[in-house]
Subunit: 305 residues, 2 copies
């Protein structure tokens, strides 16, 4: 096992749980040894790998998209929920919930080819800045999590992102931001349609929801996309609880981690009141379900890179 | 580029097309260079990677499952389509079509957990023999295709199986038979349900079809699971045509290959008449669509290992 490079993690229960787990599953001949092919780890994205408070990254993307649409069709500027986006009215936007936001993204991009959506998304990631942190959006990834991904990779793990966010949105930056290939991203999705354009088959986005990848759907989509129970999962909200319990309750050594945003000074402090991504049951039942809580305040030396 | 190990491929147009393509996309600085992350290749399974004639491997599995069910419930032995399975009446079974067979597999296994299905399937692969070839079913894989998979792997390709067969059935043997991780198998699937058993969340198979992975659905599922257009695809029937055209019509160097089973002596000769997996339009339009036809008789020195 290589030396750990978890330098942004404070010594403590969470860091020890990670290091001990990795040592056990990689020790050849040990009773908890797991062959590399079975070392699958699943990570939630919003609030687990990068910042989601006060607004999801995809919410900011959508706000800018709506600005572009309003320039062409001013009639939408007075209508909700568009008005809330144009005014960065986070309180109203949060009340839409994650699924409400996802569905609005889907409606806004229906009828585009996958390539057209990718062009728009890449251009946005290349120029937009996070209004609170003033940096490109890919840089609101959490430094300790990037170290954890690298550490797991060095130890033969294959990482998947399992996100409530739009799968093609997250795929645009998964390689650059996290070193995770786009085909290892599972997320919310619309149904796709094949359409011929100039004799070339294109994949077109429809407005019809395929899967809203939250709660039990995360487990169902792990079954569909991966087809084996991961041995490690990391989440930060009740939307991840089903995945954490599914992973934790497999046979052999398993690790389920739950990030608690409790550091208002360095990032944000929120849990049960945050409508976009509430954390209540997972926090209350963590001990009972064998889930290890990670505290931003206590366990992380640094938050951003 | 390593030496090619395509020793079961005869010199000729098909072999040259493969070797030339791989040379072009792996030549750093060349105009057709493709970085390793983008070297995605998708393979159909039945009839492309292993034998499907006179009956799909999964058809034989289903026949043995129905025998087991009939032992418990003799009332099904006189009813179609069960009778046809019990009598190995391939003509009747073929007339069900691939989707009919797939749906019957799904109905037969509804209410099982993924783990229970895997146990049954693994036991079957461990003991059953192909009635025509007398070998375990994993050995009806085509030798030239195993060499091709190895050759592409050596050249930095990541291979996916995109099959009309049941995704969890093919995942049982993808690693052993092809060296393809189970999470790189895309296939037909039922919807899954999360159920608590003794406080443990289990993934249960329902009888409801999620996706029948054939024709346009292969392209849609590539979009959902992979999220980028592959650069190489290999199929053998009209069910693969949409995938072949989708892959072939991307920008840059692309290779679409179509296997034609035309060797009655060493394997089987069939195309448009074979109801389970008809090949007509793809063969007729191959030249127009830029698809390279591979003839078993002409291009393969050996068929099986």
């Amino acid at each position: 096992m290589p030396e750990t490079s978890l330098s942004s993690w404070n010594d403590g229960r969470a860091r020890s749980a990670i290091v001990d787990f990795v040592a056990r599953v990689t020790k050849e001949g040990g009773k908890d040894y797991v062959p590399p092919a079975e070392r699958i780890a699943t990570f939630d994205n919003d609030g687990t790998l990068w910042n989601e408070h006060p607004m999801l990254v995809q919410g900011f993307f959508l706000a800018d998209r709506i600005k572009q649409l309003a320039a062409k069709d001013p009639s939408i500027t007075g209508r909700q929920p568009f008005k809330a986006f144009l005014e960065h009215d986070f309180k109203t936007l949060q009340s839409l919930g994650k699924q409400g936001l996802a569905e609005l993204v889907f409606t806004t991009h229906a009828g585009m080819s996958e390539e057209e959506f990718a062009d728009i998304g890449r251009a946005w990631f290349g120029s937009a800045k996070h209004p609170k942190y003033g940096c490109p959006f890919t840089q609101v990834a959490f430094k300790p999590q990037l170290e954890l991904l690298a550490y797991l990779r060095e130890n033969g793990f294959k990482m998947y992102i399992v996100t409530g966010g739009g799968v093609d949105f997250v795929r645009l930056i998964s390689e650059q931001a996290y070193g995770i290939p786009r085909e290892q991203v599972i997320g919310s999705s619309v149904k796709l349609r094949v359409e011929m354009k100039d004799g070339r088959p294109m994949l077109m986005k429809t407005a019809e929801l395929g899967s809203f990848d939250d709660r039990e759907a995360k487990v169902q989509n792990i079954g569909l996309h991966i087809g084996r129970r991961p041995i490690l999962a990391f989440g930060n909200s009740d939307g991840d609880l089903a995945m954490l319990r599914y992973v934790r309750s497999g046979p052999g050594a398993r690790l389920a981690l739950l990030l608690h945003h409790d550091d208002a000074e360095r990032e944000a402090a929120y849990d049960r009141e945050f409508v976009l991504s509430p954390l209540a049951e997972a926090l209350d039942k963590a001990a009972e379900y064998g889930i290890t809580v990670v505290s931003v305040k206590r366990d992380w030396k640094a938050v951003f890179g």
